[in-house]
Each structure stands twice: as structure tokens, then as C-alpha cells.
Symmetry: C2
Subunit: 360 residues, 2 copies
């Protein structure tokens, strides 16, 4: 494990050392089966145990009530941008809240399947702000309200979620699932690509209230139909077996270190360190509004674009990788997901201090 | 690598020792990057090299002409059951040839998007037969003809492919891609889930003639649209990064041992050994017609269902795993994909001889 870097990528991103070590140890011969997990039939006893254990851990850690189902699906969160409307739009109408790039993409995709009302768009403030309850009013007769919990590109995050009453709230939690305690009962459906906080690319986790699972748009591909996914326990076709196994290992790690409570404390501590530093200097300019700041993605700029580039380059040389902001917005972005240790953040701050001194 | 079994699973299935060893060696720190491949941003320089190398190797090994594109997509082959009609059905009409379970499923899925003509169905002969040219006649004014090259469940395989003239031939090669030489120019589109012959679950490879890539059905999810996949070089969203990396390693292994020529010779030798044995004994009953036999999945039964179960159980005890036939048909199935060494087949035959003697 030596010579490893601190990987601040927005996703795919770091895995905890404990997780990587277990994957490596079990690689050739999982639990005496004589085969690697990636070689196992998804219908085998050994693999079914891995699969069910991952589901069970997720249910325990997130305290997912019995009236919710857990699906492991192909296609990432972008697949869910289509799956959600194809499955949930019965009245063919939904409200979308746009607070960044991915919520915008979700809304665009949904508009292929029904009427999409954009009830908030943060474009004017360059997506530095998360709307409060009094900035939102929901349309009549809609199937659901959709939002993205954490905006990786802009570094903003919903602290509390809007009360949508009887209307199901659908939330993309790709970049902050399992980073903090949430009450699953506030949501009709939660989905997340695994590659940021809970695993590797190639799998989406869907947590859905059972009463929302019924018929789908007739043109829904089978692999995206929630009723078929339920009927086949996420094995309508061969699931992404290895990504599900890695997810299980990440969940095991979270349980072993103390669950959501511990992860949330760690994440708050890491983010506080970085934001406190940003708030007590004048070289770097933070992007997100204070009340809307993300625990997961900390975004800021140096005084110039050239200097942003120099920052990212020099950081990489010191083993602090992937700090360049998203190509849509530039600047710097430090993604500090669950697996980023506080030492990585401390080292980043030291580097920032040094870089600021040299370039002031 | 000790205590490993011979895994005869129909998929996911065995990987070559050389492949597993490289994955294990490079696990924590790929090529001095300081990170595991599964932690890498799909947009990083290191990962783009892995991605492009995999594509390049596939093009070389299969001799894919320039007028064809290669896509790596989410959703497995079952995702393609929908993607093919959603993208290719302009006239809303296609011919499907049913020679087994997966071609039937493909036809059912396609019928959601247009008129599907079943021009052959092997139901009467319990899918033991692959039709010859004079058993097929194609409909007028269709978008494509679809077939499944190898039928894992029944153990049959197309030796040559029908000449469809100007009509694009679309082929599901999930269970025999890269097992033998084919001429890509005979096909409009080839697709394959990777988990049988070329990698692990969670990725579909699509090889498509460029002129077939155009508009899609307006309800096609973005992740399934071929034109968007082309425009974004298979990175419209985060691709299944680790499965693509494993695919690249399998392709490297194939190139290093001598390419398709060597793999095909090995596969013919393995299958010949097993079929020759079956043809010179009377205890086991082979399922597929001689002229339709698969190089990849060898299917047979013992004299009774109870004995089938005893066979699979006892074989497992001797490190010959997953020989139980598919739950739809029962019996025994030995899947001997690219990664199965001839020693595995030899050991299986010894076991079969012994079992037959004991139970005659």
C-alpha cells in the first residue's frame, strides 16, 4: 500500500485502505470457494451470500424501513435519469429543482417522458445556492419532485430536504449517499451511482418505497423497469457482480468503524477544517454560499485560471491528485468523500498555505 | 493461486490465471499512479490509456474494419435487447431467429418497439438444432435480422451465419465472442455481455457499422442511445471502469498467447475431446444435434434427473464446479469458454468415466 496518493477525484474516487486490503486478500480464492468473486456465477450460493449481505448491510446502516425495497441496477445514476420518469410518471408530470449540472441533466432526460416543470433553477447565482423552503412551491397534480442532494461540480449540498407532503420526493444522492444521517422516510425514492461514496463505477443503488413500484411506460427497457427488478430481486439479467461485492466491502467498513454516526462526524471534521481555512485567508475564493456548502466537494478558485492550473499541477507532484475543477466550471475542487482520511485534508491545507504564500 | 477449482459456470465464468495474476499485482498502485484502477477518474490520463488500449486491442484481435465503431456500454446484453430496436428500428420491423432462451428474450423485448417476425423457432426440436440457409427466408422491408450466435442453455452454435444481403445482421455473441475467427464485415452489429468469454459482468461490448448509427426512438434512455454513445466515446456517463480494465487484460492475454487463431485451436481441441468422449459411450446423452454443437457449452444428461444432481454434486467435491444445467432445462452443462484450460476438460472426462462406471 505504499506510495499511494491522496485522490481528490469527484468520482470514481478513493476507497478506504481497509476495503482495498480485503479485496486484495480475497482476490484469487474467495472464502475457500476456489474462485475469484469476479468469476462467480451470480446464481451461486457463495455469490448470493455476498449479494444478500450487501443488501442487509445497506438496510441496517441507513435504517431503511421494511416498506422500502433496495435495488442494484445497471446504468449508473444517468440510467436512473430515465428510469425514474419511465417508472414513476403516471400522470406524466413532475417538478424538477435544478441546483447544478446533474439535476439539469436529470430534468432534460425526464422531459422525454412527460411534462417537466423546473420550479427552481440556480443559474443566476451560478449554482452557488441551495433554495430554502420559501423559494419553492410545488405544482399541482404531479407524480414526484426531483432534486440532487449534493452538487459535485459546484460544491453545494441540501442540508435539509423540502417537505413535499404526499408527493414523493425523488433524490439523486450519488455524491453524498452514506455520508451523513438521513431519514429514508422523507423520500419516495433515493438513487445513487456507487462510484463516489460507496464503491466503484458500474452500479446504481435504488431505494424505493414499495407503493411506488407498479407499471412502467411500455417502452421502458426491461433492465430499467422497477417492477421487473423487484420480481427478479435485481437479477433480471446478470448484475454487475464485482461492483456489488465492492459495495458490500465498503458497507462492511462503514459498519466496522461505527456506522453513519462515525462517518458523519469524520466528514464534518474534514469539511470544517477546509472551510475554516478558506474563511480565514484571502488568496482562495470559495464558490458555494456558506449556508449551501457541501461536505463532500469543496470548490474554490485561485486569483487566476493560470494559477488554478499551476495549483493542480503542483499538488499532483506532491501526491494530492485530481484537484482540477470540473471542465464546465474550472477552478479547484477537492472531493473529500467518506474514504478520504483527515490526513489528506491536512496535507491539502498545508499545500494550500504554501502555494498561497508563494503566489500572493 | 492454489486450491483453485475448474469453474464450468455458464457466466460469469473463469478468467485465465495470467489475467488474475496481473489484476492482483497491479491492484493497489496501477503503473505508478498511486491508486487502484477502480479508484481512477474515468477522465484521467491513466484511465484513458487503459480504455483506449482495450479498444485498440479488440480492434486488432477481431480485425474490426475502420467503418465499424466499438462501444462499451452499461446494462449487459439484456440492455442491448432494448437498445438494438430502439436505435435500429426505423421501419419498425425486424426478423428474429429463435434458437434458444436468449434469442427468445431478445425478440420479446424488441416487440415493444416494433413489429417482430419470428422467422424460425427451434421449439419443436427443443432447441437442439441451428437452422440452415434453406430453413430461413427473410421478410420484406425490415430493419435487421437478429440471431444469437451461441446458445448457452442448449449448447448449440451457428457455424456459419446466414447471408442477409443488404439487410443488417445483428448478432448476440455474448457466449462466443472471441472464441473463434469471424468476419466482422458479415454483420451490421455485434453485441456481447463480457462475463463469459472476455471479462466480468457489468459491461456490454457493441461493434456497429457506422452507417447504422443515427437517430433513435425518442424514448430511448440516453445511456442506450448509440448516437450519443458515439458522440461521447462511451463516456456519456461514468463507464463501468473496472470491468473495462478487466476486458483489456483478457484481450492482452489473448494477444500474448497468439490471438484468435490460437484461442480457436484451443477451443476446438477442448470441445473435440469432450464430444469425442460423448460420442463413444452410451451412459450420457448429448443434447445438441451433431451439426449444431457449441464449442463453448457442452450439454448432456445422465440417465435420470436424480443422477444429474448426483453428478453435479460429486463433481463439485472434486473441484469441477457449476456443471448443473440451466434451471430451465436441467441436465448437465459444461461451459468451456476461452479461459478453461484443456486440463479442466481432461479432468472432467476422467470424472465422467468414473461416474458412468459407478452408476451404469
Amino acid at each position: 500500500m505504499k506510495d499511494r496518493v491522496y485522490n481528490f477525484a469527484a468520482g470514481p474516487s478513493m476507497l478506504a485502505d481497509e476495503v482495498l486490503n480485503e479485496l486484495h486478500d480475497e482476490f484469487f480464492n474467495y472464502n475457500g470457494s476456489g474462485m475469484a468473486v469476479m468469476e462467480m456465477s451470480h446464481r451461486s450460493k457463495e455469490y448470493m451470500e455476498i449479494f444478500n449481505e450487501a443488501k442487509g448491510r445497506l438496510r441496517r446502516i441507513m435504517e431503511i424501513p421494511e416498506e422500502y425495497e433496495i435495488f442494484f441496477m445497471h446504468g449508473g445514476a444517468t440510467g436512473q435519469f430515465a428510469a425514474v420518469p419511465m417508472n414513476l410518471m403516471k400522470k406524466k408530470k413532475a417538478d424538477y429543482i435544478i441546483t447544478g449540472n446533474f439535476s439539469k441533466k436529470a430534468a432534460q432526460e425526464a422531459s422525454k417522458y412527460g411534462e417537466v416543470n423546473i420550479i427552481y433553477d440556480g443559474k443566476e447565482n451560478n449554482y452557488s445556492h441551495i433554495p430554502s423552503a420559501d423559494e419553492l412551491s410545488f405544482s399541482d397534480d404531479i407524480d414526484y419532485v426531483h432534486l440532487c442532494a449534493n452538487n459535485t461540480i459546484y460544491g453545494t449540498e441540501w442540508k435539509t430536504f423540502p417537505d413535499t407532503g404526499d408527493i414523493p420526493l425523488v433524490v439523486d444522492m450519488s455524491s453524498d449517499i452514506l455520508s451523513r444521517k438521513i431519514d429514508v422516510k422523507e423520500f419516495g425514492l433515493i438513487y445513487a451511482g456507487a462510484q463516489k461514496n460507496i464503491g466503484i463505477a458500474g452500479i446504481a443503488v435504488v431505494i424505493i418505497r414499495k407503493d411506488l413500484i407498479s407499471d412502467h411506460d411500455p417502452k421502458t427497457p426491461q433492465v430499467m423497469a422497477y417492477d421487473l427488478t423487484l420480481k427478479n430481486d435485481s437479477m433480471l439479467n446478470t448484475p454487475p457482480t464485482y461492483p456489488i461485492y465492492v459495495l458490500g466491502k465498503v458497507l462492511k467498513w462503514i459498519e466496522e468503524i461505527g456506522g453513519i454516526k462515525e462517518i458523519e462526524e469524520r466528514n464534518i471534521a474534514k469539511a470544517k477544517l477546509l472551510y475554516d481555512y478558506l474563511d480565514h485567508q484571502s488568496f482562495y475564493i470559495p464558490h458555494a454560499e456558506k449556508g449551501s456548502r457541501s461536505l463532500m466537494n469543496v470548490t474554490f478558485t485561485t486569483p487566476s485560471e493560470d494559477m488554478d492550473a499551476a495549483f493542480a499541477k503542483k499538488a499532483t507532484e506532491q501526491g494530492l491528485c485530481n484537484l482540477k475543477g470540473h471542465r464546465l466550471v474550472g477552478g479547484i475542487r477537492a472531493s473529500i468523500y467518506n474514504a478520504m482520511p483527515i490526513e489528506g485534508v491536512e496535507k491539502l491545507i498545508s499545500f494550500m498555505e504554501e502555494f498561497a504564500k508563494e503566489n500572493a
